[in-house]
């Protein structure tokens, strides 16, 4: 199991100055675009050594830091 802090740290690396909270909406507000999301995907898969498939790249998996955490935990279990 991972913690939200790990995710927030990755977010901060990829998008400095974002300063997002755990449940802040990131996609619909335009804070993250598809390019940023792909950067996050790269970072997550690197950091946690996960295999992310195109199917996991749904917007709802990335719209908050909490959603990203849930994705990471789910992939870890599989």
């Amino acid at each position: 199991m991972h913690t939200i802090d790990e995710i927030l740290q990755i977010l901060d690396e990829v998008k400095p100055g974002l300063e997002a909270g755990e449940n802040d909406e990131l996609v619909k507000t335009g804070l993250l675009d598809s390019v940023d999301i792909m950067g996050i995907v790269m970072a997550i898969s690197e950091e946690f050594d996960l295999e992310i498939t195109p199917l996991d790249l749904k917007e709802e998996n990335f719209h908050t830091a909490a959603a990203m955490l849930a994705l990471v935990n789910r992939l870890e279990e599989e």
Partner: protein
């Protein structure tokens, strides 16, 4: 049979709708398919063989994937856990094999028809001129079947969705065919997704008066944009861009603005016609535009302009490429070489480069289209690089009104430059136009149009702007109109129809203009 032709509007559409509404429910899907095939036949004649063949291939591959899945599910309970895992792996490999061969085959068809003549022209010419002993080769050109860029890509999207398990495969051939050739989206898109569009196509809802009214209203608005605005601007644009050596300075600027207006009015008008038609038949299609000129960056512009093309490439090219194993390895390599940040961003930028090149080339085989794609890639890259270096004093004002307006203006200028690039007759013509841009234009700016045309254009553009502003503010104009009393509703509709008939640029004094995107 273009969507704005009188044959389509006065003959085909009323006939199809009446037939569709009058037959019992179980035949409605058949009426839609029949109408689509009739429509396609009118536009492509024997090109329909391509459509039928490609639909058959897509159907069979989807079916095979579905069967694989079903077989797995049937065998699974009898196996122990390691056996299940092995089975899953085998099934996945088989599905991937089907998908890759199918998608590659479809892409090859597109490449053969659309790009190969362009790619081989130069080398063949060179061989013929410099190596006379080389056997003469020639490539028979195949007439590009109507809408092939659209139904091929929709076929690929169907296959990928089925292989991912995001969509259930169709059991019957006619169902796939019906989806691929549905007449409102076969000519100019939008690129629709099987899971969103197919249900209403295969099991049509009951005819609804409200849906008919809404659909017709949207079509009238689309006609207004196409016939009144785009076709009127065409006269100006044609002169300036086809005879570019005659014009300079302001004439080129205004010509480019007119072209942007023309392309926007025309393409979004065509989408209004297509989506309005589909709406009248109760079929939801994807929106292709969302007030693009309110975008604050070029990448946002492309999320609002031709949305479904961008979405298609993002979903089926960009994202899969990024998370593919080679790209992950590339990321690792970059990380080791250039550090963590580059390890993250270089693969993403590689994916973006591929996407932009494809967006450019999708519009046609030619160097200018490649330049067009690269132009937007460079803009996006520059924006991303400059972002961290912007002075803090400026970025702090990011959410202020004037800063937003400035961003929109900047995007508008950059997009207009892109439009000029897109419309120019080749790279040489573009360079010449750019040079001539700095020679002042001392003659009248009424080129190919008179003052009254210009007035209609300005009024039409203002109306489009007003509608976009309202949409941007979240209004749904047709629902709001529907809540008003009947005399007002009718007056608006009648005024719309009369305006289209009165101010439309059709008839003896105008060049008939087809839809620009229908050639892709």
């Amino acid at each position: 049979m273009a969507y704005h032709s009188s044959v389509y509007l006065l003959l085909f559409l009323p006939l199809m709708w009446a037939l569709w509404a009058l037959v019992p429910q179980k035949y409605r899907a058949g009426v839609l398919l029949g109408g689509s095939l009739w429509f396609y036949w009118c536009g492509a004649n024997y090109g329909i063989v391509w459509l039928l063949g490609i639909a058959a291939v897509v159907w069979l591959l989807g079916l095979a994937m579905g069967r694989t899945e079903a077989l797995c599910a049937a065998v699974r309970p009898a196996l122990d856990p390691p056996g299940r895992k092995a089975l899953k792996k085998q099934a996945a490999a088989l599905k991937r094999c089907l998908l890759v061969s199918g998608a590659a085959g479809l892409v090859l068809v597109l490449v053969r028809i659309k790009y190969l003549p362009f790619l081989l022209r130069v080398p063949l010419q060179w061989l013929a001129e410099n190596r006379p002993w080389w056997p003469q080769l020639s490539l028979s050109s195949i007439t590009q079947p109507l809408g092939i860029s659209f139904f091929l890509l929709m076929g690929i999207s169907y296959l990928v969705d089925v292989s991912r398990g995001a969509a259930q495969p169709a059991q019957k051939y006619w169902q796939v065919l019906s989806f691929l050739c549905f007449w409102p989206h076969v000519v100019e898109g939008p690129f629709d997704r099987w899971d969103k569009t197919a249900p209403a196509l295969l099991d049509p809802p009951a005819p609804s008066y409200r849906a008919l009214c809404f659909g017709v209203q949207r079509m009238v608005w689309g006609l207004f944009k196409k016939i009144v605005i785009a076709d009127r601007a065409n006269a100006f644009v044609k002169l300036v861009f086809d005879d570019w050596t005659q014009y300079s300075g302001a004439a080129i600027v205004v010509g480019t603005l007119c072209y942007t207006l023309q392309l926007y009015a025309e393409f979004s008008g065509c989408m209004d016609l297509a989506l309005g038609t589909a709406e009248a038949f109760g079929v939801p299609l994807s929106e292709n535009f969302r007030q693009p000129f309110f975008a604050r960056s070029v990448s946002e512009f492309w999320r609002r302009w031709h949305i479904t093309l961008g979405a298609w490439l993002r979903e089926y090219v960009f994202q899969p490429v990024i998370v593919s194993k080679p790209m992950m390895r590339f990321g690792k390599f970059c990380r080791g070489r250039f550090g963590a940040a580059a390890g993250r961003s270089l693969p993403v930028w590689t994916g973006l480069l591929i996407t932009w090149v494809l967006i450019g080339l999708w519009h046609g085989a030619g160097l200018i289209y490649l330049v067009y794609g690269l132009y937007y890639f460079l803009l996006q890259l520059l924006g991303e690089i400059a972002e961290p270096h912007l002075p803090a004093a400026l970025t702090a004002k990011r959410e202020t009104r004037w800063y937003k307006a400035l961003q929109m203006l900047r995007t508008f200028v950059l997009v207009n430059f892109g439009m000029m690039l897109f419309r120019a007759n080749g790279v040489m013509a573009l360079l010449q136009m750019l040079r001539r841009l700095f020679t002042p234009w001392r003659q009248s700016l009424l080129i190919g149009i008179d003052a009254k045309d210009a007035a209609v254009l300005a009024a039409g553009a203002a109306l489009m702007l007003a509608v976009d502003v309202l949409h941007e503010r979240g209004h749904h104009l047709r629902s709001e109109l529907a809540a008003r009393p009947l005399p007002l509703r009718w007056a608006v509709m009648i005024a719309g129809v009369v305006a289209v008939m009165l101010f439309g640029a059709y008839g003896d004094h105008y060049d008939p203009a087809g839809f620009i995107y229908a050639q892709f």
